[in-house]
Symmetry: C2
Subunit: 465 residues, 2 copies
């Protein structure tokens, strides 16, 4: 092993890459021990920190386990190679993939480089930091978030999404997961169950489980009736739903199910948490309004995000709380500060009101629509008879089910051999028995527009060629 400090790649990353390769290629077999940190640092002539960080990444990526007293033990990594999820380098997000290694990456979540409107953001940041407003940098701020941002959001929700709310019902938060984590503080884990779609977004499931709430899975996919029966039986006080485009199945909750779900909440006094994560991206004429716009009795908590349209690294989203729940939140967080930096809130508020937001969104919407159209067209052209697409003309991903019943690990592995990354869906199912085996997730949030057609052609070749 050799480290070169003239390369742009940090030393710890170089070391991590070499060790990972060594493990994948069997140089360090399962059960073997990595050299002690001190001695490897001495051998390589680098700092202990460098080795420590590289080992830390290997642990994080699942290549080794750290056992107190016995060092770093190499793990069985066969499954890692079958599972594209683990190909990510640190810093690239949970579904991100290592671009050095995969030519066509149909990951979901990260955005295409250049999406973030850096120039406009920079200009507004400049302006705010030059102005008298920057005294806001020196104080703890409103625990609900900046009034200017809450007003900008409320106005858009009222005018564009049919959601009647006031700025005082809006709480600026630091992302879906922290929102849900904080919301759960208003419920009692020892008593209240939380219902959740199954399959569903694993990031939220983790938060609910980590907070030690009982999770009541509600099956989707086999028809809305099944979902309702599960919901009725759940005894839940809170139900997490993605009605506009169920994640990951892309099912749209039909009107009668929406009404039934609302009636359930009204009857039982439960709340519905509507995660409207892909509202910004709709590629067909007809689409249903948010569940929150149908809510007349204050049972729906609406959750919106800027991660898909602006930046996942911005860490800003928001909740819209019915008034009684808003008051409960105010009480529970009376002694707390806003979790979101003041400057970021101010810049976003200005961005949303000075015309930048509309320009930006139109640009991103147009691009995503072209990507969606290319993706679905090329899949139809190259694999039309062999696969089924699960999509609803919204969002930034779809599911592809292969009709011949091949397992998803096989599909992922075959794709990978052709330098294409598609992703297994198993982890979204709470009940593995319900899991549809020959289905993979194909995202288009991160891949470049021009890579979609050659990528799908390569995939078709790998699967059916």
């Amino acid at each position: 092993m050799l480290l070169d400090d003239r390369l742009p790649t940090p030393l710890y990353q170089q070391l991590f890459d070499q060790l990972r390769r060594g493990i994948e290629e069997g140089d360090h077999p399962e059960g073997s021990r990595l050299p002690p940190i001190r001695s490897l640092a001495a051998d390589l002539g680098c700092a202990r920190n460098t080795v420590e960080s590289a080992y830390g990444l290997l642990v994080q990526e699942g290549y080794v386990k750290s056992r107190p007293g016995s060092g770093y033990i190499v793990q069985n990594v066969a499954f890692l190679q079958a599972d594209a999820d683990h190909s990510q380098a640190p810093g690239e997000g949970l579904l991100g993939a290592d671009e050095d290694r995969v030519r066509y990456d149909f990951t979901y979540g990260n955005l295409e480089p250049g999406t973030f409107p850096a120039a406009a953001w920079r200009a507004i940041t400049d302006d705010i930091l030059l102005s008298v407003e920057s005294t806001g940098c020196d104080a703890y701020n409103d625990p609900f978030g900046e009034e200017s941002l809450r007003s900008a959001i409320a106005w858009r929700l009222a005018t564009q999404r049919g959601i009647d709310c006031t700025p005082s019902q809006i709480i600026i938060q630091g992302g879906t997961q922290t929102s849900v984590q904080n919301l759960l503080a208003l419920f009692d884990g020892s008593r209240d169950a939380v219902a959740m779609e199954d399959p569903g977004y694993d990031g939220v499931r983790t938060v609910i489980e980590r907070a030690r709430f009982t999770l009541a899975p509600c099956r989707v996919g086999a028809g809305a009736e099944v979902f309702r029966a599960d919901l009725e039986a759940s005894g839940a006080r809170l139900a997490y739903l993605t009605p506009s485009s169920q994640f990951p199945t892309c099912r749209v909750m039909p009107i009668d199910s929406r009404e039934a779900v609302l009636r359930w909440a009204e009857r039982t006094g439960a709340y519905l948490l509507e995660d409207d994560y892909c509202r910004d991206f709709r590629y067909r004429e007809r689409s249903l309004a948010p569940l929150a716009s149908m809510d007349r009795r204050g049972r729906v908590i609406y959750m919106g995000t800027f991660s898909k349209s602006l930046s996942p690294a911005l860490r800003i989203n928001y909740l819209v709380l019915p008034e009684p729940l808003r008051d409960r939140w105010r009480e529970a967080f009376a002694n707390s500060y806003s979790p979101v930096p003041w400057l970021n809130q101010r810049v976003l508020a200005r961005f949303m009101t000075d015309g930048s937001w509309d320009r930006h969104l139109r640009r991103v919407q147009a691009k995503n629509r072209r990507k969606y159209e290319t993706l679905t067209r090329v899949i139809r052209e190259t694999m039309g008879n062999d696969v089924e697409m699960l999509e609803n003309g919204t969002g930034l991903h779809l599911l592809v089910r292969v009709r011949d019943g091949r397992g998803q690990d096989t599909l992922v592995r075959q794709a990978r051999a052709a330098d294409v990354a598609v992703y297994p869906t198993r982890k979204y199912w709470l009940d593995p028995a319900g899991h549809v085996s020959s289905t993979v997730l194909v995202g288009f949030s991160s891949i470049a527009e021009d890579d979609i057609e050659p990528g799908i052609r390569a995939l078709a070749g790998a699967w059916f060629g």
Copy 2:
């Protein structure tokens, strides 16, 4: 009531101010109902949102209560006028005061306007958003935080605080409260008790209570023996401590207590959470190193902040976790993203490594030292025989105990009549019986240097003149 949209004050704030004054002056007596939102909006010719927001602020400030079905009911506000804590306007933080109303505000927490290094921050932000690095804006990032920032922090902890840790043990978080909230996810609220100093920082106490953990108070102030006995009896798995300067009493934990506390943790397998919130500000030669620097068995979780030196609105702090706990964190948050915006982390990392941090800290340290010296000198000069100061030559606040036994509400009220804000300490005590009644908190983080001497002279006049 009249609203004027040519004023710089937003309409909802104008309305809030007028209603608040009306309530304080008895125009709206306790138990009366505010006009319905729609009709007041119609009367004033403003939007419903404006009224809604103003009413929301009144609820937030405790002037009215919202009762579903019966509207907004005016509350008894006599206590609000006695308690300086409630004088804050929204957006000014929990201990912030309304500067329009108090000439000399000895609040604690918010920083003096101009503290935040806006020019340097702007230049670095510019540079990063112009560079290729800004592709980090488009991706979900490392859940532990940016490597560059973790390295910069680890290096300073090792070289300046005697804490031997690697970047892989550092987790970038969004403030003390969210850090503690996340840390508690590694423990089990149904089984694990959390020990906490009594008195102690109420912001952390709220988080522990909100997460439904059993809180075991450990008395400070009556001698280290009592504290140790309480800790021994607590059965806690985690103890929250401020050894360098106990909050709010400014006691420094003596060496033998430190050793006893470490031994307790080693023996019981508990963890100590050291909140070293005022490490950056020490005005005397001799001061004890952090508890974490004495820790040989990995029992101390170290927590550091940028809120006192840089900006409370930045919402960045960090935890240093012992390795086994770090691994537990990695597992619990495997499916989570960093809660802190990427850009802010990158800018701070650059700020800490390009020389800006050292310059900034020297400037703030020098200023706070002058403020501390003026404050203690003038208190001695004007009230030397009548009061006792509780302080240890660190931090940004001290306690003043009046020897004649007057209650703290009286002290706060008398100060307020002379246009001076000092703060009651009652809320820091979990057990009100232990509370030292004639003691108030005097902070100097926010007041201008030149206001300290006249402010303390006005206070002395109000109390003893």
